[in-house]
């Protein structure tokens, strides 16, 4: 077995153990069996390798010097390990030959704790076959630790670049291609470093500047979905660009028509549908025909092609949308549904929009991608407002990897229906707190995006 596969397998075996100790008693058979399985696999490796070392370096996880990639079948495991190592400020974690299942169970128990508790317990108990190296003060540069700041800076820079690009196109001015290329790579960096943080910012919707925010949000959602399915960074850059440019053809359509409140006439509808075609021309005008543009051109053209062969522009029977077009198709629909627009003043609730996608898989959307998208956003996507059985209202701040029905929420409305800056609850851990139903934040005079800025 290669080093890479061995590393992936260890992470895959470690993840259920770490989850099991969160739910069961340490003497429970599930915990013991999971730990035994983990140790048994490591023993097979110790016959050829003396130590098994995981190093976390700027959100990359290396196993015995091989970088483990985020792939569809290992995403949750790797993401979880990365986030725990990051929280505990662990630089490297090494398992040595001779480790027994009880030692790994004990370690798993403290691994779920906060940084202070972990440190105390790690020193107190002895772990002869587990070596931990912590980050020294200042070792990881501030910019890497302060994800929130970096993420917001990237988001607003990206928004500015997207806006400039579209406005320049509208007014026939030249477009700064270099900036738009750079910003996509910044977004790729951000998504790998702070997926939840950047996804939270997609709750920023701007009624007046819908097209800019929407284009960027689709780009970000596509990047997140692309990362989940295991695309490498180069492919992510192409997908992100395609997401941002998918609606660029709208610059050829009058703003009056785009913002029309009343029902569109058949002719107006046909004109609006032409934005897929116009996108092709606008990308050619803006970026020429490099490899990224070519991909963006196909996505702009195909992003209204449905999975079942319907959609527009018309296509031949055997023509199928590309993977990137299918990704953007989902992300575009989700963001459009959850955004207020002239003809849709009250947007869909995020969980409702997700259900629309779920129930239209096979018809409008690729069913596999619809599943991954649901895993990504969870049953209650970030920005959802949830009425809880405590009488409070919580705002979904982020997903719980591996428990998509129980997100991490912040209490924003108290039992008396007053706005509050309440505590943050992990609904997977605080099992007595239940979700009653999702609700409209507008009912409480709340704009969810305010909590992510």
């Amino acid at each position: 077995m290669s080093i890479y596969t061995s590393g992936k397998t260890i992470v895959a075996l470690l993840y259920p153990l770490l989850k099991a100790v969160q739910v069961y008693d340490v003497n429970n058979d599930v915990v013991i069996n999971t730990a035994k399985k983990f140790v048994a696999f490591m023993e097979t490796l110790f016959s050829t390798i003396s130590s098994l070392e995981f190093v976390r370096y700027r959100d990359y996880i290396f196993f015995n010097k091989q970088r483990l990639k985020y792939e569809i079948d290992s995403y949750a495991n790797l993401q979880f390990l990365n986030s725990r190592l990051k929280i505990l400020r662990i630089k490297s974690l090494t398992f040595l030959s001779g480790i027994k299942h009880q030692e790994i169970i004990d370690f798993a128990v403290i691994f779920k704790e906060d940084k202070v508790t972990f440190l105390k317990q790690f020193v107190l108990k002895r772990y002869p076959h587990i070596k931990v190296e912590f980050l020294k003060a200042g070792e990881e540069a501030d910019e890497f630790m302060e994800d929130g700041k970096f993420t917001k800076r990237t988001y607003f820079k990206a928004l500015k670049v997207t806006k400039n690009m579209m406005q320049n196109l509208w007014s026939g001015r030249p477009v700064d291609v270099k900036s738009s290329r750079r910003i996509v790579y910044n977004l790729v960096d951000t998504i790998s470093r702070d997926e939840f943080g950047i996804l939270a910012l997609t709750t920023i919707k701007n009624f007046d500047e819908y097209t800019f925010n929407h284009s960027l949000n689709v780009g970000i959602l596509a990047l997140a979905l692309g990362q989940r399915i295991g695309l490498d960074r180069r492919s992510l850059a192409r997908l992100g660009t395609s997401g941002i440019l998918h609606d660029i053809g709208k610059v050829e359509i009058s703003k009056e028509l785009i913002n029309k409140v009343q029902k569109l006439t058949d002719q107006e509808w046909e004109t609006l549908k032409m934005h897929s075609n116009f996108g092709v021309r606008e990308i050619l005008k803006t970026r020429g025909l490099d490899e990224i543009s070519m991909i963006a051109i196909t996505v702009a053209y195909q992003h209204h092609w449905n999975y079942d062969g319907t959609g527009y522009p018309l296509r031949e029977k055997e023509e199928e949308p590309t993977l990137f077009s299918r990704v953007v198709r989902i992300c575009d629909s989700y963001d459009a549904m959850t955004t207020a627009r002239s003809y849709q003043p009250i947007p869909y609730l995020p969980h409702f929009a997700l259900r629309v996608i779920w129930s239209n898989q096979n018809r409008l959307f690729d069913p596999i991608l619809a599943k991954v998208f649901t895993q990504l956003l969870g049953i209650y996507p970030v920005g959802s407002c949830l009425e809880l059985n405590t009488g409070e209202v919580g705002l979904v701040m982020r997903q719980n990897p591996g428990n998509i029905g129980s997100p991490i929420v912040k209490i924003i409305v108290d039992r008396n229906h007053e706005k509050t800056d309440g505590r943050t609850i992990d609904l997977a851990m605080e099992v007595q707190t239940k979700i009653v139903r999702p609700t409209y934040p507008q009912m409480y005079g709340i704009n969810p995006s305010a909590y992510f800025l």
């Binding site: 800076r153 790579y185 960096d189 295991g230 075609n277 025909l289 070519m294 704009n447």
Partner: protein, 512 residues
């Protein structure tokens, strides 16, 4: 550690300079690069990582300046800094390819080259970097929430009705193993597949709805790129669409000596499919390209390729023989031969007149091609003289064509030749063509003549006449009439072994 880091940075600097001066394939570069790679690998195997911070003209390690160069063009620090790279990190496990790629990106000297973009594009596994953008003022103001009354519960009910979804349906988004496999295969397939055919399809589909200058220009750009990369399959698809726009000149740019001679490797490309795509693409060329295409012919190493190319050039030239006629003046025999061949393929009787001066050409290759050309333009009378050509190959070809074209005027002459003693001096293959001519232009007497040859008593036991008997028998079989076959059957019953054997053999062959 300080010394080791200094050594690495110095090695990095030297390798960078050597790359700028000599390029990557030069041994001098390798002399500087190899020690650098060895040093950094050794360092990383002990320390696992090396982080360097980048400032305008300096590089720092552990708050210590390890590199300083203030000359902008020479400074590694400045190259990185100007594009926003503020730190660079190396991880244990780094490969030589990664380091070479890094050096390559940093040493790019193209104007407007963005080092940060270059680094991003590399997607390193063991090199990380941090890039800053200009500071953005976070001037976003959260919009006010509308205050008018909305019955949100009612709104939700309406939406549920409209979307026809089960709001309480259980959602289990776990992927089955085969779904994971499908998705991964899909990703791999798309990564491997070229985007080009899809873009061409998209752009051509676009043109179904609207004529767009940008899209046509885009297709032309793709066409140029396809021709550059010898992707004639896609080039042909684009050309096919663009020919719908006669006002757009898209092929002219390729109709020059440099471009066409650039196709020379296509002439002998091993894969027939690729050659055929190339052939199909040049079908879009105009007759302007003929003189250049003719030059490709001399490079053809395979007869079938030469044949196809000549046909294609004849097609491109349409009925205009002017550009080809020029090549009749060529001193190069192969060019002359090709020109004659193409004129023949064009089947232009007027053009055949141009061939007259070459009928007696001293080179047999020319005469052979003339015969083909005359055959194509159906001028058998001009072929007659070749029956007496000093070259057997030429005579055979002429006889074959005379047989094919049915030219009975030669019948008595050739019959006399067959009856002549000297006929026995000819090679069997040539003798056979004489008989083939006779059967192709047969008159009612021929069966009798052949029968008498077959049964001729005078030739009994004379070995050298056996061939005549055999040729007569074959000719009778070829005629295939009831009378001629009956003659063979009678022959097979004869007691004379010479006759019996030859007739039996021919009848056996015929029945097969």
């Amino acid at each position: 550690m300080k010394e080791e880091v200094d050594q690495i940075v110095l090695g990095f600097t030297k390798a960078f300079k050597a790359l700028q001066m000599y390029g990557m394939n030069h041994s001098s570069f390798r002399n500087f690069y190899v020690p650098f790679y060895e040093n950094i690998s050794e360092f990383l195997s002990k320390n696992n990582e090396l982080n360097l911070q980048i400032d305008k003209f300096t590089i720092h390690h552990d708050n210590r300046i390890v590199y300083k160069e203030e000359e902008m063009d020479l400074s590694i620090a400045f190259r990185l800094f100007k594009d926003g790279v503020r730190s660079i990190g190396f991880m244990g496990g780094i490969t030589s390819d990664e380091l070479l790629l890094l050096l390559d990106v940093i040493s790019q000297s193209k104007k407007d080259y963005d080092v940060a973009l270059g680094l991003w594009e590399c997607d390193f596994s063991h090199i990380s970097f941090y890039v800053v953008e200009e500071e953005e003022v976070l001037d976003y103001r959260v919009p006010d929430v509308p205050t008018e009354f909305v019955d949100y519960d009612e709104k939700l009910k309406q939406l549920i009705l409209r979307e026809k979804i089960d709001i309480d349906a259980v959602i289990i988004p776990d992927l089955k193993p085969d779904e994971v496999k499908n998705l991964m295969n899909n990703i791999t397939d798309e990564e491997k597949a070229s985007i080009l055919p899809l873009v061409i399809k998209t752009l051509t589909d676009f043109l179904h709805t609207e004529r767009s200058k940008e899209v046509i220009d885009g297709l032309i750009e793709l066409l140029e790129s396809c021709v550059d990369t010898k992707d004639f399959y896609n080039a042909r698809r684009i050309a096919y669409k663009l020919k719908d726009y006669p006002e757009v000149s898209f092929i002219e740019r390729f109709e020059n000596a440099t471009t066409i001679m650039g196709f020379k490797e296509m002439v002998n490309v091993p894969q027939n499919e690729l050659f055929n795509e190339f052939l199909a693409f040049i079908g879009f060329f105009s007759k302007k390209s003929v003189p250049f295409l003719l030059q490709l012919l001399s490079l053809a190493g395979r007869a079938d390729r030469l044949h196809s190319l000549r046909h294609r050039i004849a097609y491109i030239a349409q009925d205009d023989i002017t550009p080809i006629a020029e090549f009749l003046k060529s001193e190069d025999t192969m060019s002359l031969v090709s020109a004659i061949a193409i004129i023949g393929i064009m089947r232009n009787i007027e053009a055949a007149k141009l061939l007259q001066p070459y009928i007696d050409h001293p080179d047999a290759r020319v005469r052979l091609e003339i015969i083909d050309a005359l055959g194509n333009v159906k001028q058998p009378d001009l072929l007659v003289q070749y029956v007496k050509d000093p070259q057997m190959e030429v005579r055979i070809k002429a006889l074959r064509l005379l047989a094919k074209l049915k030219f009975p005027q030669m019948y008595p002459v050739l019959l006399d030749k067959i009856k002549d003693k000297t006929f026995l001096d000819l090679e069997f293959s040539e003798q056979r063509e004489y008989f083939n001519y006779l059967t192709a232009n047969a008159d009612s007497n021929l069966v009798q003549i052949l029968k008498s040859m077959l049964y001729k008593r005078k030739w009994f036991g004379r070995k050298k006449y056996r061939v005549m008997r055999r040729l007569a028998a074959i000719a009778l079989a070829q005629i295939g009439s009831s009378e001629s076959l009956e003659a063979l059957r009678i022959g097979a019953e004869k007691r004379n072994k010479d006759i019996k054997i030859v007739c039996e053999l021919v009848l056996k062959g015929k029945s097969k």
